[in-house]
Each structure stands twice: as C-alpha cells, then as structure tokens.
Amino acid sequence: MSPTERTIPGPSVNPETKPFWDAAAAGKLLVKRCTACGERHHYPRAICPFCGSDRTE
C-alpha cells in the first residue's frame, strides 16, 4: 500500500473527549492536566490516572 492510498478514518468522539477533538479541529493540541495533583496525562480522561481526582482540565 502506498502512502497516497492510505486513508485515515476519523476518530470516534464521545462527550468525554469532544473538547479535545473540537480543539484539534481548530488546530489546537490540548493536553489534560489535573488540578489536584498537577500531573498531565494523555489520552484525555475525566478522571486523573495518577490520583483519581475528577478535577481535570
């Protein structure tokens, strides 16, 4: 398969990840950060994978 033949399907979007994809469509890359523990994570989650807090933005 040559690169020109390859089609990349769009991602499946859900309410949890919609802000990320909306920003991506506007040319912005968002990385989520937890305001409870300060850690950044990706892929974006509502619940922080480092401390379990729901204070992610």
């Binding site: 991602p11 990840t17 994570h41 990706h42 994978p49």
Partner: protein, 391 residues
C-alpha cells in the same frame, strides 16, 4: 495465604491440529478438555471448576459448561489476552486453596487459519468504547507494529541487534525440528532470519510467531487428588500477574509487566531465576522473549541481546533452554494466544516427557510466562513457577 504446595497440575493437552477446517470452536475446546482430563486420568464428571478467556464461544464459561455438561461450583473468565491461561493456573490454585473447587479445567481454542483472519497485520479494533481507541486506531495500530515499536526502542537504548533477536528464532527452530506436530520444522540460521522480509521495522517475517488453529487444556487439582492419579505430579509453587499500561502517556517501552509478575511469583515460590532449569517464554515475536527474560531477572536490563545469542537458549547447548516444543515461533500459537501451550511444555519438561533431544536433564524447576496484548502499550503479564513433586 500462599498457593505454594496447595495445587498440582495433573493433566495437560495440546491439540494436535494446526488447521481445523472441520471442527467448531466449542468442539476444539471440548476436545482439548477431554485430552487433558484423559492425561490426568479424570473425566468431565470430576470437574468442578472451569476457567476460560475471550476465545471461548458465546457466553464463555456459561456456553462451554453447557456444551460439555459440566457441573460447576467455581467459574473464572479472567481475560488478559494470550497470558490469560497462565493467570488461570494461579487462579485455579487459589480457588483450590480456598476450598472453592477440587478439579479445575482450563481450556483454550481458536480457528484463525480456518477463518482466514488477518491476525497480526490488520489494525485491531476493540470497539469505539475502548477509551484509547480514538487516539490510536485511526493511525492503524497492528499487533506487529506495536511490538516493533518496543523492539526499535530497545535497540536504540541498549544497542540490541536484529542478529541477537534472530538467535531466539534459531533456538526455537532447533527445538521444533524434533516436534512432529510443529507447523514449521525447518532449522533456520541467523542469516535466514535477518534476510527474511521486514514486516514492521525492525521485525522480520521470521521474528513473528506462526498463525495456527487448535487449542489446549490444563487440569489443576488438589494435591490429594493428584496423588491418587497415576501421572507424575507437578506442583504449583508460585504465580504472579500484572497489567502494564501507558501510565497516562508517560510510557516506558523497554519493560513489560514481568518486572512485577516475576518477583511476585519468585517470592511465593521462595526461588530465584538461577534455580530455574527450563523456561517457557511467550514468543509472539522474538522481542517479546528478549525483554521478558530481562524483566524476569535472567540478566541485567539491556543485556538480553547477549543472553539470547550464540545458542544460549538451545537445549543441550546453552545455559537457559527455552520453548523446547518450538514455541509460538515454530510450533503452535492456537487462537493467537500462546500462554496455555507454554504451561504444557513446562509440564512435559518437569515430567521428563519432552522429546529426548530437547529434554533438560534433572529438570526440577520450570517457569512459564505469558504476555497478552501489545508489548508497547498495554498487556497482561503472568508468571508461573512449577516444580517436580520431589523439588
């Protein structure tokens, strides 16, 4: 509570088919179950605990209990990909130790060849609800390119070479020549491996395991039951399990969950890597073996290339004989899940029933390790340490 000395592996079976055009999936499970029970000297009526994973048809344990007519008081369908069945042995030992069952049956089966499945080279979609799917699937992650990513990183960080990886396939092929059931019985050289076509850089075709139909089964029993049977007993000495994941994006590609499952199993067994006479290591790809051996403590991190090179994994030649049935690389990888057959060959070694050309002398302690999922991004790791009844 420890499981050490609380359970025995009383029967094992590896289905001889490698292409099952004429058998149904449930039938392959049941044929494997019959084989392992016959090996132990037991029947379906003796089984009171049943273990299966995602390869089981329909509603898993419920469907297979129905098909086989099992009367169960314990069921476990833990799913960690190809490592599931190694975990199942530990879970069976736990259930037996807790008095939840006396005779546990574990089965595996699949027909990826008969079904023409594009196993390793088509993107695997676990469904839109898989939380990471949207961020990876559009880019076409396949099994082989995810393992290749871990191999590439290991080469970059530690200087591991394709020739060193090739020695793993060479050792497997040396063993497979003696196995009449093995899919690939031809002995290959390092040159043949590194000159085979690249599938996902740096992995060549001969760095990849086979695709086969078939299955297998294991019977785990209470020690008193095993002692009443005629077959040599194999004791379960220690088990460890772990999930390795992406850690919120802060992932290290150079280690597996074996860094956790290994020490857990060794501590429970009261043993060290130097005590182990034979290892069955999940070999979906050559890199899987190399990183796993490092993580289990058979050498220092980054030194796996030196450990596996120059025939060191070949029975009768090297100091760490591995996968003496030919492993997934040459013999069999039923249902694209290699964990169960790893336990089967370890049991053959401990019973002294491996092929005479590959039987390890005085094999009293053996280890089986499973890796299920993707080496780079997420997988289940399972380590099982077994001993001969006099060990």
């Amino acid at each position: 509570m420890s499981i050490k000395g609380k359970a025995c592996i009383a029967g094992v079976f590896e289905h001889p088919t490698r292409k099952a055009d004429e058998q149904s999936l449930a039938q392959l499970h049941a044929e494997s179950a019959r084989g392992a029970l016959a090996d132990a000297g037991l029947t379906m009526a003796d089984v009171d605990g049943y273990f299966c994973a995602g390869d089981a048809p329909g509603l898993g344990g419920m469907s297979m209990a129905d098909y086989m007519g099992l009367k169960l008081r314990h069921v476990d369908s833990t799913e960690t990909g190809g490592s599931s069945y190694v975990i199942h042995v530990g879970h069976a030992a736990m259930a037996i130790a807790a008095g939840k069952c006396d005779v546990a049956l574990i089965t595996l089966a699949g027909r990826p060849r008969a079904e023409g499945m594009a196993t390793g080279t088509a993107p695997r979609n676990y469904g839109a609800a898989a939380p990471d799917a949207a961020f990876e699937f559009p880019f076409g992650p396949t099994v082989v390119n995810q393992y290749a990513m871990a191999a590439m990183r290991h080469m970059h960080q530690y200087g591991t070479t394709s020739a060193q990886l090739a020695w793993i396939k060479v050792a497997a092929s040396q063993h497979a020549q003696h196995n009449p059931h093995a899919l690939l019985r031809d002995v290959v050289t390092v040159e043949e491996v590194v000159n085979s076509p690249i599938i996902a850089d740096p992995l060549h075709r001969l760095d990849c395991c086979v695709i086969t139909d078939g299955g297998g089964a294991i019977v785990v029993t209470r020690p008193e039951v095993a002692k009443s049977l005629k077959r040599p007993r194999v004791n379960v000495l220690g088990a460890g399990e772990a999930i390795k994941h992406q850690r919120g994006g802060k992932i290290d590609l150079t280690h597996t969950g074996a860094v956790w499952s290994g020490p857990t199993a060794f501590a429970e067994a009261g043993l060290r890597p130097s005590d182990v006479k034979y290892v069955s290591i999940y070999d979906s790809f050559t890199i899987t073996v190399l990183i796993t051996l490092e993580d289990l403590g058979f050498c220092d991190k980054g030194q796996g290339g030196k450990l596996v090179a120059d025939g060191n994994l070949i029975a009768g030649v090297g100091r760490l004989p591995f996968n003496t049935d030919g492993g997934g690389l040459c013999n069999n990888h039923p249902a694209n899940r290699g964990g169960l057959t790893k336990v089967v060959e370890a049991v053959r070694q401990l019973r002294g029933e491996a092929h005479p050309k590959v039987q390890v002398k005085n094999c009293d302690i053996a280890l089986a390790h499973g890796t299920g999922g993707s080496l780079a991004t997420r997988h289940g790791s399972a380590t099982l340490i077994m001993g001969r009844s006099d060990a």
